[in-house]
Symmetry: C2
Subunit: 316 residues, 2 copies
């Protein structure tokens, strides 16, 4: 029998990215087209179908070799029913995407949220390749997470497992309110948003720093300043790393994963972030729970979304 | 075919308790005999065999109906290989208990540590009956835990999943060192040992309290004083409950279990403990992660050990 292929769809607010993976999780080719969110749900869904058919047509594979299509989206999803409950970037609310795409494409369809899908991508063929149990953090605008157990995404009771950004880690007296409404969530300090907020606070306070924040400051500028030796910027990055390490220690005690993977824009801070995270994890985690456990940067970058989405067919 | 039965063994330092369960997790009868730790490993193992044979002989069931034997022990176990690595109370070190008992008893044998086994007992036929995903805390001398995923004990990478007592929850400046060597573990505040320590500290400090601690103060006296309105005792119980609730919020964000079960001696504190735990959990957990989630007292008491051990045959 000829080789089977899997198409992953990364459904974003401005672009839909599609990619073909083989059974080993290797990304063979990708294609990207506009989402056209402003034209409504039907057009967006038509575009998904169009791009999936296009990439398979352009590939060395036949349509018969396509085993199925997986899709990841930022938002709330009902994985079991295949419904996108709310995806603000794409303008979807209660869209039964699996049923619609199965009808249009005629192949098995799976969906999940972007953080779970990215985690699966890394576990399948990125930093966690070959690892059965790993935990992935995606440090972007918010902090997303995904728990991989026995090679598969773990959903939990109501599909909300892996909401690592909402682990409450900041002590009450230092805590600020998170977008979720609670105080002291990891997301308030270890996301790009958190880092930018801390940088703005420092500048407004008059801290002696090379940071001079205009309206469009990004986390990258804070990392650059930290690397150049700015102590205020270093303190901010270390604070983000400190609470990330603390949350990992808690997750390690509960779940004992083999590998922690850190991806997303904030992970680009590099050594200054990773060395502090590893240090705090080592200080806060009992020895036996550290043994053999590694903390690694994500490897797939922006491809994690399409790879993980393709992986949904085999690993969910 | 006639009904199958499962024998659970709770291997303790002074007594070995055995119990027969049916396939539904109902505990049908129990028997208890001395461990005789002082006579060495061979005698202890002979005693296990003797008590297992005895309880089946005394029961309405035949030996042929016995599907297997499970055993739980306080200590480090290698579940996959069936080895008790270190169980100080029983004086076992590197005892390949599964192989030995399989030879003696001629039935499948499973083992696990006491916290996992208690969690499985509660999940199988106690407070978590019918629930696929739950997390159990056992608040005793230490704080043990067990994670039940899809009805089974989750072991993690190196068999250490569920070490909930070593979640670091106390902020650094208030933290004391745990027996594990790390600072601020849940066990330092939410175990009986932690409660007794806080009570002793209060008395020694000269706090105005009805507690007058002699050498053999137990956590129960602190609970009684708290119930009688002693503010110092109330503060101690609330502190234990506060960090327990905080740890649950972290676990909920990572694992999204349906039910949290709290057992062990400290859970006997009752309402004052549970109401504070529920309150802190509600304050520290985003709404969607609270929805449908309950925090319940354990139901099986001391029987959780034998029931869960018997359950290992069906649920591991």
């Amino acid at each position: 029998m000829s080789e089977q292929i899997y198409v992953g769809v990364d459904l974003g607010g401005t672009a839909i990215k599609v990619g073909i993976c083989n059974q080993a999780g290797q990304l063979i080719q990708t294609y990207e087209g506009p989402t056209e969110t402003e034209k409504g749900v039907d057009v967006v869904v038509d575009n998904i179908e169009k791009y999936v058919r296009h990439i398979v047509d352009q590939s060395p594979y036949s349509w018969d070799q396509l085993a199925g299509v997986g899709a990841g989206v930022a938002g709330f999803t009902n994985v079991r029913e295949g419904i996108i409950i709310f995806a603000p970037n794409v303008g979807f609310r209660d869209v039964p995407i699996r049923a619609i795409l199965e009808e249009k494409i005629g192949k098995p369809i799976k969906i999940d949220n972007d953080a779970n899908v990215a985690a699966l991508g890394e576990a399948w063929s990125g930093a966690g390749r070959g690892i059965e149990n790993c935990v992935c953090y995606t440090l972007g605008t918010g902090v997303g997470g995904g728990i991989i157990i026995n090679g598969k995404i773990y959903q939990g009771f109501s599909g909300l497992a892996g909401e690592l950004g909402h682990i409450s880690v900041v002590p009450d007296l230092e805590a600020i309110q998170c977008g979720c409404g609670k105080m002291g969530c990891l997301e308030t300090v270890s996301s790009a948003t958190g880092i930018i907020r801390m940088a703005k606070d420092a500048v407004e306070r008059g801290d002696r720093t090379s940071l001079a924040l205009e309206q469009h400051i990004a986390a990258k500028e804070v990392f650059d300043a930290a690397k150049a030796g700015d102590e205020v910027a270093q303190r901010i990055v270390k604070r983000a790393a400190f609470y990330l390490g603390k949350s990992m220690a808690a997750v390690a005690a509960a779940l004992n994963p083999e590998v922690f993977i850190i991806g997303g824009g904030v992970s680009k801070a590099g050594d200054i972030l990773f060395s502090e995270v590893r240090d705090v994890f080592a200080k806060s985690t009992p020895e036996p729970l550290q043994k053999g456990v590694t903390i690694l940067p994500a490897q797939l970058g922006n491809d994690a979304g399409v790879v993980g989405a393709a992986g949904l067919l085999l690993r969910s």
